[in-house]
Each structure stands twice: as structure tokens, then as C-alpha cells.
Symmetry: C2
Subunit: 236 residues, 2 copies
């Protein structure tokens, strides 16, 4: 039987063997929710890069560039890290380069050794679960966390995916069990559940409450972003 495991932060990724695993990267607030939204709205591809410098390099080559650090847009780039910025006609068919504080770093770390890297968010939870059932590989859900520390929202997403796949995958590790229990406790009111988390407090100071509500909606889109080479594209 295939196994599903959860890694609560990229700082613990060294403990996991990935040579038979698909890694699902989740940075619910807000990088992976932006990726899913953008690709669902017709963006052609998103190239995640770890550094602001790489993002600038791709901007100079013609990419539309999105750079976020500490939840704010970096000066000189085209897009911020709000999913609503990705619902834009001028982005249809475009190539985007993206760097964020936690999410794109996690993707960079995962792609070094995983069989495949896919992108998870509540917005595409059901489509992702359906696709993963058909794959022959184990799964590692990699929570992007916040600067190396676990965070609540990505852990809740990991628990939601584990819950959706619990009949087809073995859930052996305690990290998975804890994520699943936390999700189960709050599945009926995710917004209330995250309202006193550290990241939501950070985001609320920035006045982006509507991003938070949006990112906690399940199954808005039927796509699975997958990394091909160094670029994310949508599988429908």
C-alpha cells in the first residue's frame, strides 16, 4: 500500500527519503493559492524561483514577475502575492516568474530529489486528491511553514489531504496523525480555526482579510499544478 507522510516545515525535509515520492508543496497563505488561481485563470506557466535575484533575471527576459518577502511585494516587480491579482485578463497565456518567503523555497528544496512536485491548496484539494489516487507513488505533503517553523494553515491543508486519501494510503507517522486531527477538529469552520494563528495576525495587520477567506475555500478549481523541469503547468 502506498504511504502518505507530512513534513511540517522545509527545515525537516532532510529526514524524508523522496526517491519514490511525489511531493505536494502547500503554502496556503498565499503562494500556492496564487499558483492554483493563476493557472486556473489561464496563466500559461509559473516558474518558481528561490531568490529575488533569479526573479529579476527572468523579469528582464520577459516574464511577468512576482516577488514577495515578509508578506509584501518587493519594489520593482509586477505582481504581489494576492490571489486576486492572478484573476486578470492580461495574464492569460503569460509566463510568470515567482519568488515568495516560504513557498518557492520549499519547491526548490523538493525538486532536487522528488519523483514529481505538485502544488496543493484548499482551492484544488479534491482535484489533487483524485489525481494522487491514480499515481503509483508515495506522497509527502511539504508544508511551507513560516521561516522554518510549522504553521497552522499549511498543517490543516496537509490534514485535509491526508483525510481525503486515508482509505488508499497508509498514514504511519505522527506528523500526519497530528495534521489529520487538527483538520478534523476544525473542518467545519476553517476561518475561525485559523483566526488566532500567527500568520493570520501578520496578514490582518496588512489588511488582507479577504485573501484569507478566499484561500480557505475548498474545491474552487479542478486543476493540479505540476512541475515540468523548472516550470509549473496545469494538469486538468
Amino acid at each position: 500500500m502506498k504511504q502518505l507522510d507530512v513534513c511540517l516545515t522545509p527545515d525537516l525535509l532532510h529526514l524524508h527519503k523522496l526517491n519514490n515520492s511525489i511531493v505536494v508543496v502547500a503554502d496556503v497563505f498565499r503562494a500556492t493559492s496564487c499558483m492554483v488561481t493563476g493557472l486556473a485563470y489561464g496563466v500559461k506557466s509559473i516558474t518558481p524561483v528561490a531568490s529575488v535575484e533569479e526573479c529579476k533575471f527572468l523579469q528582464d527576459k520577459g516574464f511577468i514577475a512576482a516577488a514577495e518577502r515578509d508578506a509584501r511585494k518587493v519594489e520593482g516587480f509586477d505582481l504581489d502575492n494576492s490571489p486576486f491579482s492572478y484573476m486578470n485578463e492580461r495574464l492569460i497565456g503569460s509566463q510568470i516568474a515567482m519568488t515568495t518567503t516560504n513557498g518557492t523555497l520549499s519547491i526548490s528544496k523538493a525538486k532536487a530529489s522528488a519523483v514529481k512536485v505538485m502544488i496543493g491548496s484548499f482551492l484544488n484539494l479534491g482535484a489533487l486528491a483524485n489525481h494522487l489516487r491514480s499515481e503509483p507513488y508515495d506522497i509527502l505533503v511539504l508544508c511551507a511553514g513560516w521561516k522554518g517553523r510549522p504553521n497552522l494553515e499549511d498543517t490543516l491543508f496537509a490534514g485535509a489531504l491526508a483525510d481525503a486519501l486515508k482509505d488508499e494510503f497508509m498514514l504511519l507517522e505522527d506528523g500526519t496523525l497530528m495534521a489529520q486531527r487538527l483538520y478534523d477538529q476544525s473542518r467545519d469552520n476553517l476561518l475561525a480555526s485559523v483566526s488566532n494563528s500567527s500568520h493570520v495576525r501578520r496578514l490582518q495587520r496588512l489588511g488582507i482579510q479577504k485573501d484569507i477567506s478566499y484561500c480557505l475555500q475548498r474545491d474552487l478549481y479542478d486543476i493540479v499544478p505540476v512541475l515540468r523541469g523548472s516550470t509549473l503547468v496545469a494538469m486538468h
Copy 2:
């Protein structure tokens, strides 16, 4: 206001500043439960060491030596890692040297930069909480985990201590919030809560169910083990 934070595994300790913090190390199954039990039963001191070689060195100098790896006693040492082995008349007044897979390594890592290192378990939860209220320092609860990964039982202990101290300390980080919620969910039946955790499955294979039940009892002893130099002694 003082702050209480939780570190889910020693592999994340690099993310925490300890220069104003007491670190409470918890390895509920079973190292820190053994330490509390032994000191409560009259052991004079326990010297935690990170390696089997250091433990052997102290054994040769006259210490009673306890070495555990992968939940089993290492050949040639005097004591295993069961708390019941520490309820022994011949240990009264003795000096013990101890190395375990996870717990003593966590103590070694913590003592490099913490203000003080104390030992936590469900067995001394109330006494520990009472003592910490009187200290002027922040608290980091360091869960020993299992070979770098978070585990359920130590996380539940961290949640229990956070819950006991929530009126006197700020609980800001998501790791603390998650631990607290998991404890709150299972406080009325800890044994059922841990029954499908990875470590309990490992221990059950070794036939030590009674150790598990014992280690989950709250407030059996009124002592707080504290590290003085490189040796743990009981504060009453």
C-alpha cells in the same frame, strides 16, 4: 509578559533564541519520565550524556549506567529505559549516567544556550508549571521527538504545559497553538489518544504497555529536575 513557545523537535532548535529562556525538555516515552521517577525515588543525580561512549566512560568511573538505543537497553549497561527500573532501593543516593535515543541528545543541544534546562513529563506537570510561574524567564518546551521527527506524546505534553500556563504566558507561535489544541482534544483520555501513534506501536511490539500507561499519569510527583552544570538534580 513572558512568552511560552514550543519546539516540536530538536532538529528545529536552531530557529529559537534561548538567551532569555528556560528550556523544558520532554521525552515522555520514556527518558524524561524515567528521570522524574528516579529523582522522586531518591536517586541523587542523573547525568545525561549524548553518546553511548560517554555513558560507558562514566560507568567506568563508578556511575550506574543506563543506555538505550531504539527503545532497547544497550548490552553491557546496568539499567534499561523503563521507569519501573528506577523505583529501586539500591538506586537511593546513587549517581546515574544516562543516554537515550532522543531525550539526552535534546538536553545536550539545549544546554549550550539556554538560561536553565528543566525536565518535563506528565508525571511532574503540575509541579513544573508551578515552578515556572515563579521564574522571570521565557519558556521553550523542547519536544525530543523521534530521530528528528515530531511525535504525538511529546507534543501533547507541550500542549498540557502551555494549557497550564496560558494565563501567565503569551502563546504566540502556531506550534504552541497546535500542541495546545491537540492536548485539549484528548486531555480526558490520553491513553486512547496515543494508542495509534508511531512510538506507541514501536513500544507495544516490545511488550511495554504498562510503561505507556504509567508515563501518561499526571502529577504523580512533586519534583522538578533541573540541570546544574552537567547533572540533573531534583528541586522540591
